[in-house]
Symmetry: D2
């Protein structure tokens, strides 16, 4: 196929420029022809940097443009469902940042709209495309560690977001642990039950927002395996993102990634520099790869690697986790219907 896939990016905030960079430099079969943001200056800045020829201040203008094949949806979560419905109807393929919605009803409607329109939708669980986690998945699939029995994820941000970010985000389970819920499914298969616990240990302001800055969850998988996840909004030494699985034949574990492989033996200790600070430094490859695979899925009419169903399941898990905290009991995912 010789024609390039023509993209419009909706949203020029934190993650929009990341996808703009991929489309500009790392996806030869794609091009970004327009970027939209109600903050026009932000959109213009991104456009200038990545040579995007058009800038608009509304999503509608992009969606209704017949010259656009696909959109990258980076607007606030509460706008996703509406835009997806509109874009699907307009025949656009959709790459949507996670989560599609905090509401299962909206997710279901979005999935239905996409299916009805016959377009493709992929969801931005980028960590699935990281070389460490892909390697773990490969080990699980190939039987390298036998049957996976025990699972542990560590996922910690270097510093907490502003308190104003918390309520719209849906809280630590929907905003942060959702990545780990996705990773749990990616590596171990479906989950049946969640028990979770939250604490406010980093900043008392989280309590006023009815949120936690520290949380742990215990999972029971359909396979019978069990496991735990821990999250913190603050790890002083940088982004801490690891997974470990114990299988019947061995263990596989990932370490953090560092900007260099230098070890200094000093007078008081043996030390290295800190690991990568946050997701922008840690996951550039995976952000590029997820979009490259979306482009390939559309152009070659193949299944997208992260589906609407994949976007729904972790939200169910997050809702179950929060319910578990509130009711102080393990919650089966089957209990969560809306």
């Amino acid at each position: 196929m010789s024609r390039k896939l023509r993209f419009g990016i909706l949203g020029a905030g934190r993650i929009g420029p990341v996808h703009a960079e991929t489309l500009a430099y790392r996806a030869p079969q794609a091009e970004c022809v327009v970027i939209a943001d109600i903050n026009l200056a932000a959109a213009e800045a991104v456009a200038a940097r990545y040579s995007i020829p058009n800038v608009v201040d509304s999503a509608t203008a992009v969606i209704d443009d017949p010259g656009i094949d696909a959109i990258v949806l980076c607007t606030p979560t509460n706008t996703h469902a509406g835009i997806i419905a509109h874009a699907a109807q307009a025949g656009k393929h959709i790459f949507c940042e996670k989560p599609v919605s905090q509401s299962l009803a909206e997710i279901d409607a979005s999935i239905a709209a996409v299916e009805a329109a016959g377009v493709k939708m992929q969801v931005g669980f980028n960590r699935r495309f990281d070389s460490n986690f892909m390697r773990v998945r490969k080990a699980v699939e190939s039987g390298e560690i036998g049957t996976p029995n025990l699972f542990h994820i560590v996922s910690r941000d270097p510093f907490p977001p502003p308190l104003s970010y918390l309520r719209p985000s849906g809280g630590i389970f929907l905003d942060m642990m959702i990545h780990d819920f996705d990773m749990a499914r990616f590596l171990m298969g479906e989950v049946e039950e969640v028990f979770a616990s939250g604490a406010v240990l980093v900043d008392p302001g989280f309590a006023a927002e009815d949120d936690f800055d520290t949380a742990i969850a215990m999972l029971k998988f359909a396979s019978g395996a069990i496991g735990t996840i821990d999250n913190s909004r603050k790890s002083t030494f940088g982004y801490d993102q690891r997974v470990e699985i114990l299988g019947s034949k061995g263990k596989i574990a990932t370490e953090n990634r560092y900007s260099n492989e230098v070890v200094v033996s000093g007078e008081k200790c043996v030390y290295t520099d800190l690991p990568h600070n946050f997701f922008m430094q840690r996951y550039p490859e995976s952000f590029a790869l997820e979009l490259q695979m979306f482009v390939e899925a559309v152009l070659e009419d193949k299944p997208v690697p992260v589906t609407g169903a994949d976007s729904r399941a972790p939200v169910v898990m997050a809702l179950a986790a929060r319910k578990s905290v509130d009711e102080r009991r393990p919650v089966r995912l089957a209990e969560i219907s809306s």
Copy 2:
């Protein structure tokens, strides 16, 4: 003090010889003058190896011997309480393998007997004396990682015990995770609530014994911190014993210990030999150090480093963990009274 502390060892099974070796070679202020076992041949073998001059077939003979200052109690758990009562009355200091008992009533009676007699009792939570875990404790106490907020322990045996071992052992929480419950208290302080989950993933025979071969627990500490523990009865690569704490200023984590520091870069992978296989290889130093400190506590009339109360608390946690599994809910330790 010039006189050596004179010991009798009760029990010549798996752990008795370990303590015999310490008394023979690594505790200059102590000597073992008698070893007792109903299996006289076993006792004689240990005596021959470590030059213990006397061998008897009953605990009573040791306890009633006025020439003995202290006993090392390595008999089956269900005999501990009776022997402790007798030995305390006879004025012997007692080093007792963990757990003192699976019954809180027996533990309480043992503690009372020891206190009434004015003798010292130390309990064999040897991992507290391991150089890795002591280093972690030091970091917590010194503030090196700030306030501890998140906690994770991995504790996995290389292979499961015989099924016949399971029922008398009290099950995975009382027999295996009890070490981790102790470590949790040692490093993080008192625990208020436990939620646990168990699975049979290694050997279906565990189910018939009403036991689990794989288990996880979630802890809430009095400090507000939270954490998780995972246990498996089978890790093919050897003994897997690690702890990780995230504090407000940093993270501290231990790795396993290896018999050498050699790395081979081969044609297919970069590899090392496996870590130490089991507790005998992994913890010889800590077994020696705990007994050395007991000797010192007795000779210098100092507090023992692991008290009767330290033996009681992890049993409460294990009982709470099992109750949590049975009732599918988090259990506060305050609920456990017997």
Copy 3:
């Protein structure tokens, strides 16, 4: 400066495409407008991949094009001096792959031509731009390890080149260890004396080419420090590129770089995947950074980070190393004049 630096690439072989990729995607202030190769098909393939608008079959056409500001010189080493003379006269800035020449006379003539023309010339010692080696340099410069006293470089290729490559390459000292000689100067300062030894241990065919597949060198630095280098044409586990410096206050050492940070504990060993296989996988960042810095040096009229003098000194060291092998004695660099 708003105008982009307009490049012509000479040579579409192994390294030309690497620089083409940098100019296409990672150097916003530069563009490649033409690529030349006598193998026109090779040039066309690179042009197609990186959207280079013009393809020619001769260097002359590029050099004489007044629309070109700078050339990237990736042709065989024996053509460098002639092209540099011509290009300098034509006022082109020059990024030249290492080595500029195997002949000191030609290097001197090239340096003179560049100076006479007032153009800039940078030489492609890319490893100076690797994050590991930059970190080591920073430690040396900042005094982090005190005064550097002892030095060791390991540099090993995954597999030997074809035997036909050897004679034109100038042999292991001029072709391979030259990178390490440059690194020695980059990290430790000037060298005064070299003693070297070579062996044929990988492929007997090297002997017929009067070359070695394995070599070591001992260096005395002007600072008084001493050190060693070892090279092999074959390391089965991949590209092995490390440096270690012992200073008066500590040691700094680099490890190899891996494609993931995954550790598997299996039934027989604990292992990781192999490190990066060769320079294309290991040094993509440094190839990009060296060209970015050349672009910046030209556009902002700053000194280039790797000068003509930097290209000369390692050739002197390589000639001294070979002389040392031939005469079985240490050779002072002052002895090498042509």
Copy 4:
């Protein structure tokens, strides 16, 4: 064999107590019945600590005692040859600290005396018994890394000895690098040629003693393999003792040993405690094992693992290294005859 091997230790200085501890606690088939030192107080202190029943102030008294089977020779090097001659004549087996002598003539005489008397002599190259270096040797012997081609040893002390120690010690090659020369032979086989270089970079006082505090050597092995050694009298971070071999099928390398496996991720770096500080902390196992194997060799009339010839070869290498420095040329071992 039921009788214990009865030892006399000659010399109660730095290394004597190490061997006394092995005989006391870790060699069940041996016992130390006397220790001699002209500093009687020093001998008495060691005797008290390790329950050695007799203390004398002369070697003669020990050697002439018919109740003694074997001696451990820890007196100053210049006394070794005389004592060996005497002890051999008296029929004592001899464990002699390295080096037997700095003089080849004396070594040859000692070897002849031992052979004439039909007693066993083992030399204290303890590092051969370290688990890391034994593992490397095993890899070489088993073919795990193929044919060894390249070799590098790092050997650095934490701090320099007093200047007064230097002249009697014979200098860095005879006193320090001699261990590495032995290790080179142990792992790679015989050496044919040495080129060495020395520098005074740690303490100018070394120059006044005609010695170096920093030295490197380049070795050619009889197998054709080549390699390098570097030594420094000062590594601020502790004892630095590593070896690396590149073979035709892979690489094997050792790391230093640490007192714990704890990693702290702090606010500025990720760090561990320092490696073991010096040989007493680093090599206790190997000191015990070498003497255990000597006891076994005597009792079971087996060959000793480190022979008189093994004590001679590294001295030849050290003399060649010094000659190489003095004459600024590579020196073949065949040139060294006295």
